[in-house]
């Protein structure tokens, strides 16, 4: 596999509390604070974390839909490395043909005044890539691929259920044949039975169209199912990143352990034994010194309070940002007991 995207030391800081009219901001919310990772072509990288951890902000910053404060983003396109941070408006428009996004709420992300046909064809028209019969044919092909009934293309979004709307949103995102898709909580608003349909669709499309996904979600069971590797975010930083099986079954960061232990397993015989985090999550405008997790971590020592642990390789392919990873034997998801 070859690398598709490299993100290094990306930061997104939002100024807060201006002092005076022209004054300097009183502080910054460090929504994303120094994040680095690679995505391989054809893989699905999961991005998990609790609300406010910066996962959505990061997803948007990678596409420069939201301007990063600092960092480098390199995208491999047809053998060339494209520095996304250096692109002007026109360059961005071009690269966005390859990089698309699917949003959480299919009720808010589709224009209620446009027919499904118009919604799906808009990217083609906006980029002047097709018109007339060719446009129609492309729209119909994509609608079929996404499991939409092509007789219903002249209807408006309100006539569709949540799952159908998400299919429309997916068709719109894929119509330009992008390589990279940011799925921001793409199945979170859907019911269980529909969620399974959309997850399966995303998987089929990935194989068919050779897509690479950044899959942002808070539901850890969904992420486990959908992703090849997973990155865990806490207060704007990645605390652990590893192949899914390793991350879930043998986590190397205490925060990942706490997350894993809190997943309610759909089996009444497996009583959950959550590791409770003490205290409240600190505000991203005033992150704690040293390791950002230290004030809630049961394993914290003096070094954790003073020095920020870098994200480093603990085992092959398994990175974590913890001073004590080697000394701890943390519990993963499997240790709740044998499962069917």
């Amino acid at each position: 596999m070859s690398r598709l995207l490299r993100v290094s030391d990306v930061k997104v800081h939002f100024p807060i509390g201006k002092q005076g009219f022209f004054g300097r901001p009183a502080g910054y919310v460090k929504a994303v604070d120094g994040v680095s990772f690679d995505i391989e072509r054809g893989e699905t990288l999961g991005l998990v974390g609790e609300s406010g951890s910066g996962k959505t902000t990061l997803g948007r910053a990678i596409l420069r839909v939201l301007e990063p404060t600092a960092g480098e983003i390199t995208y491999e396109q047809d053998g060339n490395s494209v520095d996304i941070m250096a692109l002007d408006r026109r360059g961005l428009r071009n690269i966005w043909r390859n990089m698309q996004m699917i949003f959480q709420d299919p009720y808010a992300s589709l224009n209620p005044r446009m027919t499904v046909r118009d919604i799906i064809s808009e990217p083609l028209l906006a980029n002047r890539l097709a018109k007339g019969a060719d446009l129609d044919a492309q729209v119909i092909d994509m609608a079929k691929l996404c499991g939409l009934n092509t007789d219903h293309l002249s209807r408006f979004p309100h006539a569709f259920s949540g799952g159908q709307r998400q299919r429309i949103a997916i068709a719109r995102a894929l119509i330009l044949h992008p390589e990279f898709i940011v799925c921001d909580e793409a199945v979170s608003a859907l019911d269980v039975s529909i969620q399974a349909q959309i997850l399966n669709l995303l998987k089929d499309l990935q194989i068919e169209l050779k897509l690479t996904y950044l899959f942002i979600a808070h539901d850890l069971a969904v992420v486990a199912y959908a992703c090849d590797s997973v990155a865990v975010m806490y207060l704007g930083q990645i605390v652990e990143i590893a192949p899914t099986v390793k991350l879930y079954y043998s986590p190397q960061h205490p925060y990942t352990e706490a997350l894993m232990s809190a997943i309610p397993e759909a089996d009444p015989a497996q009583v959950m034994q959550p590791v409770f985090l003490t205290g409240e999550r600190p505000s991203p405008s005033k992150p704690p010194s040293g390791c950002r997790f230290h004030n809630r971590c049961q394993y914290a020592t003096d070094i954790c309070r003073s020095e920020m642990p870098p994200l480093r390789v603990i085992l092959e392919g398994h990175q974590a940002a913890c001073h004590h990873s080697e000394k701890l034997s943390l519990k993963g998801a499997l240790e709740h007991g044998a499962r069917d």
Binding site: E50, Q195, P268
Partner: protein, 341 residues
């Protein structure tokens, strides 16, 4: 009413008034809540689970109406049960029950508190109203309640406003408020859905303690089968306003009988064996709208075991697969009718 049963719902029907037409939303459901147990009402959005819960406290909005059925509530074994359906919607009797003998926790901890009143005053209001305690006694009680649900420094929290509480803290305060008068029944409508997974685990732990330590009886409404497995004793699976299957939690998860339950359980991603992830089994189609309710069994257009001229014309009756496990499906009626096969 059987002894040991606090709440009994019989043949409850709820209709939606839509331009003068009565659209059925809940179609004849029956369940019982035994003392000290947690009953989970489970289903996808639009199955009528929240509306059922609201009906128990007569909190339905104006367009929704209980068209028939009974809700028998007996907080005290020695007394005769009260039929909540027969009470006025805003009368004295129902107000004496609401928040006192039966209380409710809502999904959105952000919008269930008034932003301009102190947390302590909002919890105290319930106590003053029902228990008629003095200001000082109320305050002591509120502080005790806040401590019980794990809010740190309750003496300080009592004077704070909701905006200084995080989502998890607000949900704890909401639980404290609902416990203020030691209710016999607690109704929790998706209490953890809006919360992060680590906070959810904490709230579930609190609710489990309430059950174990105080013998609280709960009706727990959720769509999350993981949460159900972790908290419920009894489970009722709802689909389009009907209970399709009901039974003890272990039986529902280990030997589900209704095709809908079976499909739901196989549609959830599990952490079991991640190394050989199979495709998720999805349920075809989606839940029809209330205005397009299929004839016969409402699940038949999405069912893999659909029997033509039977499922699409007749409504399956209840059949028992064990003493406490009931299922509404023709597959099981057939088994009973032909024991030799």
């Amino acid at each position: 009413m059987k002894s040991g049963v606090l709440l009994e719902v019989r043949d409850l029907h709820i209709t939606l008034d839509f331009d003068g037409d009565d659209i059925p939303v809940v179609q004849g459901i029956d369940f019982e809540l035994p003392a000290g147990k947690v009953l989970a009402l489970v289903g996808e959005s639009g199955c009528g689970k929240s509306i059922t819960a609201q009906a128990l406290l007569r909190l339905l909005s104006r367009e929704l109406r209980i068209s028939c059925g009974a809700i028998n509530f007996r907080p005290d074994e020695d007394q005769a049960p009260v039929d909540i359906v027969s009470l006025g919607k805003d009368g004295k009797e129902i107000r004496a029950i609401r928040g006192n003998q039966m209380s409710m926790i809502f999904q959105e901890p952000m919008s269930s508190f008034s932003p301009i009143h102190r947390i302590g005053d909002q919890i105290g209001e319930v106590i003053e109203l029902h228990l008629k305690l003095s200001k000082a006694e109320t305050r002591t009680r509120v502080i005790e309640l806040l401590g019980k649900v794990g809010i740190p420094d309750p003496e300080r929290a009592v004077d704070q406003y909701p905006h200084s509480f995080s989502g998890g803290m607000r949900q704890r305060a909401m639980i404290a408020k609902s416990l203020a008068c030691d209710p016999a029944v607690l109704i929790a409508d998706e209490p953890t859905t809006a919360l992060d997974v680590t906070i959810q685990a904490q709230i579930l732990e609190i609710m489990r303690n309430l059950k174990d330590e105080f013998g609280m009886s709960m009706i727990f409404i959720t769509h999350d089968l993981g949460v159900v497995a972790q908290i419920a004793d009894e489970v009722a699976i709802m689909y389009m306003g009907k209970i399709v299957e009901k039974g003890p939690v272990m039986e529902i998860f280990k030997s589900p009988q209704h095709p809908y339950t079976i499909a739901l359980l196989s549609a959830i991603p599990r952490l079991g064996k991640l190394s050989n992830r199979r495709k998720l089994t999805s349920i075809q189609g989606s839940v029809p709208s209330l205005f397009e309710r299929p004839a016969g069994c409402a699940f038949h257009p999405r069912c893999d075991s659909f029997i033509a001229t039977r499922c699409d014309t007749h409504i399956p009756a209840k059949s028992l697969t064990s003493a406490q496990h009931e299922v509404h499906c023709f597959l099981h009626e057939a088994v009973e009718a032909e024991p030799a096969a």
